[in-house]
């Protein structure tokens, strides 16, 4: 095969068996890779009712046919499993260099089944793969584990590891690769921990075989040239200021979530945005494999109570650990981010869960003695932010409750309405009252609230590939359907959304993936039409929905908290708005070919080869 390696590594953790299985060419064509291969595996091999932390839940790490190729941002992989945070699916995506190394080692995907009797790690050196004892690594943080692994295996190995949070079962524990890159959301790290799998280290020495190498090369040159030309008269915002530059867009439109979504404008926004980060703490911009953007942030806090060094924060973190907690101290936000990276946790769910605790504390629902800081927990408490983050990653004191995520925390105190979640997963950094399409995207995403499974913020707030009105809702169902489908293609091909939405799709709301088609055909030698790719995206999205349906999910789970659908935004540009979810859902289900309860109809599934 070309583009694909044609091989999947199956690791049976319970008895230590490792086997190589061929990638079925038809499955590859229909499901592309990454996210598509992941859901196909889960549908075929995992009972949808399985407890996510049970040995019977599989964890799939899957690359795409463009991962590890010179295609701009061919850097990504996807981690798919059943989520211990939501009971729904995970689609946790990361870049860095580990995914490309996996591909260069000759593997499209690795499937982990069962549970190891004691801590182990997987060492992949090209064709050869072995499980090794990891008892001595258990309990170590992310950078220490990365150091130890490269010492024990190969100095040039790339690693994906869990920290103490994943070992202890923090429900939003991440898998960290290349130390600072996170397959962050939905608790994939806790699934690894439950499997007694500490890490994967890989050395890839080969190259991805391309069907039409010359054509591929000239396509790549064309995309790089187009990218450079579009920034000929100014800097690339993401490279210059990092993703935290997005604060400008969300604050302008009044959707920058503040104090647990009590409002959408944050007075201290300029203290924590991309410009502040660049001016105060940026050491250097960092790029994932084959990426011309380099949005990663190598940062350093030189002094003060939050001194430290590492990577981040991203926009989502600036929202979750910053404005959502009412904290405008960028050093504290950055330090809390470092702790999440060290201990292996999702910064979004961490911050949003602390924000939920802060609101319940201010309302007198959580007694100060429960939190145990020796003072009231209030919004804006930078020191509490950092302390609670560390306590969560180490499962100490009140951190044990925070480690359950905001919904379980709020339910514990009898007030689930204060959890800003969909399907039990914390919101990303966009308030759906001022961004209607995002509300529909959160509610219908297969992983619970997420901005990355069909991200309308681009077209509603950020002018990519064009700008539309974020406050209208009648036009959004069709846009969300199309965007969700094409994001399935981006996620499955192994590309980064940040580059794709501006360079690989048509510059309008139809988001047709012309550029991805050209690259995929040159890489694989297949002859996808644009429509076939969109259909593949639709297939993947429906396959995920099918899995959720079998696990008992339906319309009642496609929901948003009462605050978002019935409490008008109190101030700012989106003042007076609520999210019109129900109206959008009816139209959305019709467009999807799902019934009024959100269950896919048999005819549609059959057309997609899913029934």
């Amino acid at each position: 095969m070309f583009g694909w390696c044609g091989k999947v590594l199956w690791v049976h953790l319970t008895d230590g068996r490792i086997e190589e299985r061929a990638l079925d060419p038809e499955t590859a064509r229909d499901y592309i890779g990454g996210r598509g291969l992941g859901i196909r595996h889960l549908l075929d091999w995992v009972d949808p009712d399985t407890d996510p932390l049970d040995a019977a839940n599989d964890l799939v790490m899957a690359t795409g046919p463009l991962t590890g190729t010179p295609a701009p941002t061919g850097a990504r992989y996807m981690v798919m499993t059943k989520s211990p945070l939501t009971g729904a699916l995970t689609c946790s995506n990361a870049g860095g260099h580990f995914p490309a190394a996996l591909k260069k080692a000759g593997w499209d995907a690795v499937v982990f089944r069962g549970r190891a009797p004691e801590p182990v790690y997987l060492w992949i050196d090209g064709d050869r793969a072995e499980l090794r004892r990891a008892v001595h690594l258990w309990g170590r943080n992310v950078p220490d584990t990365d150091d130890a692994l490269r010492q024990e295996t190969d100095a040039a190995a790339k690693t994906a590891v869990i920290g103490p949070a994943g070992e202890a079962g923090v429900r939003f524990a991440a898998i960290m690769n290349d130390r600072h890159r996170a397959a962050g959301r939905s608790g994939v790290g806790a699934v690894m921990g439950a499997k007694n799998l500490k890490a994967v280290a890989v050395r890839g020495r080969g190259r991805v075989q391309l069907a039409h190498a010359k054509r591929f090369k000239s396509l790549v040159a064309g995309f790089v040239k187009g990218f450079k030309a579009s920034f000929a008269d100014g800097p690339v915002p993401l490279r210059k200021w990092g993703t935290a530059v997005t604060v400008a867009g969300t604050q302008n439109f009044g959707v920058f979530p503040t104090r647990n979504f009590q409002t959408g404008v944050f007075a201290g926004w300029e203290k924590i945005d991309g410009r502040a980060l660049t001016e105060k703490y940026l050491v250097r911009a960092k790029a994932c494999f084959s990426c011309p953007i380099a949005c990663g942030r190598g940062t350093r806090i030189p002094d003060g109570p939050f001194a430290g060094q590492g990577e981040g924060p991203e926009y989502e973190t600036v929202y979750s650990l910053g404005s959502d907690c009412g904290v405008d101290d960028l050093a504290a936000v950055t330090q809390a981010n470092y702790i999440c990276n060290m201990l292996g946790m999702d910064t979004i769910s961490m911050g949003a869960t602390i924000a939920c605790a802060m609101e319940m504390s201010e309302r007198g629902i959580i007694p100060p003695a429960d939190v145990g800081l020796g003072r009231d927990l209030r919004f804006g408490d930078a020191r509490a932010l950092v302390e609670l983050t560390a306590m969560t990653g180490r499962m100490e004191g009140f951190g044990r409750l925070l480690a359950e995520g905001s919904l379980r925390l709020a339910e514990h105190y009898g007030h689930p309405r204060y959890a800003m979640v969909s399907k039990g997963q914390e919101f990303a950094g966009y308030d759906p009252r001022g961004e209607q399409g995002m509300g529909l995207a959160y509610a219908t995403s297969p992983i619970g609230a997420s901005h990355m499974r069909g991200d309308p913020a681009y077209i509603e707030l950020l002018g990519v590939p064009k700008q539309i009105d974020p406050l209208t809702w009648h036009d959004k169902p069709q846009i969300i359907v199309d965007w969700q489908n094409v994001f399935c293609v981006i996620d499955s091909a192994g590309l980064c959304v940040f580059f794709a939405v501006r360079n690989y799709v048509q510059p309008d709301e139809t988001i047709r993936p012309e550029g991805i088609k050209a690259l995929l055909n040159a890489a694989t030698g297949l002859d996808y039409s644009t429509q076939e790719l969109c259909t593949a995206g639709e297939r993947i999205f429906n396959a995920e929905r099918l899995f959720l349906t079998k696990a008992g999910f339906s319309r009642r789970n496609d929901s948003l908290p009462p605050r978002i659908v019935s409490e008008p935004m109190p101030e700012g540009p989106a003042r007076g708005m609520v999210c019109h979810l129900d109206e959008m859902l009816d139209a959305y289900y019709r467009l999807r070919g799902w019934d009024a309860d959100g269950i896919p109809e048999a005819a549609g599934l059959k057309k997609l080869g899913l029934a």
């Binding site: 200021w241 009044g254 926009y315 681009y458 002018g463 990519v464 009105d469 501006r502």
Partner: protein, 77 residues
């Protein structure tokens, strides 16, 4: 008529030195396109335009006291 203008990020250098936000004098009934022209921002340069907190297009007619915000497209968050 006078409008208020805020230029952000890559457009900051089009603002009068040391002032941003700032006021801009336009003939009554001028459009956003006219304001952009006065600011030497080509209509073809990709950008997000807002008037009074709502997304707007270049053909939008401006009224006295309107607040015009311009920032570049941002590829991610």
């Amino acid at each position: 008529m006078r409008i208020h203008v805020k230029l952000q990020l890559t457009f900051e250098d089009r603002a009068p030195a040391g002032r941003n936000p700032f006021d801009l004098e336009l003939t009554p009934g001028a459009t956003v396109a006219r304001a952009l022209e006065a600011l030497a921002i080509p209509v073809s340069t990709p950008k997000v335009i807002m008037v009074n907190g709502r997304a707007a297009t270049p053909d939008r007619k401006l009224a006295p006291g309107d607040e015009l915000t311009v920032f570049p497209p941002i590829e991610g968050g």
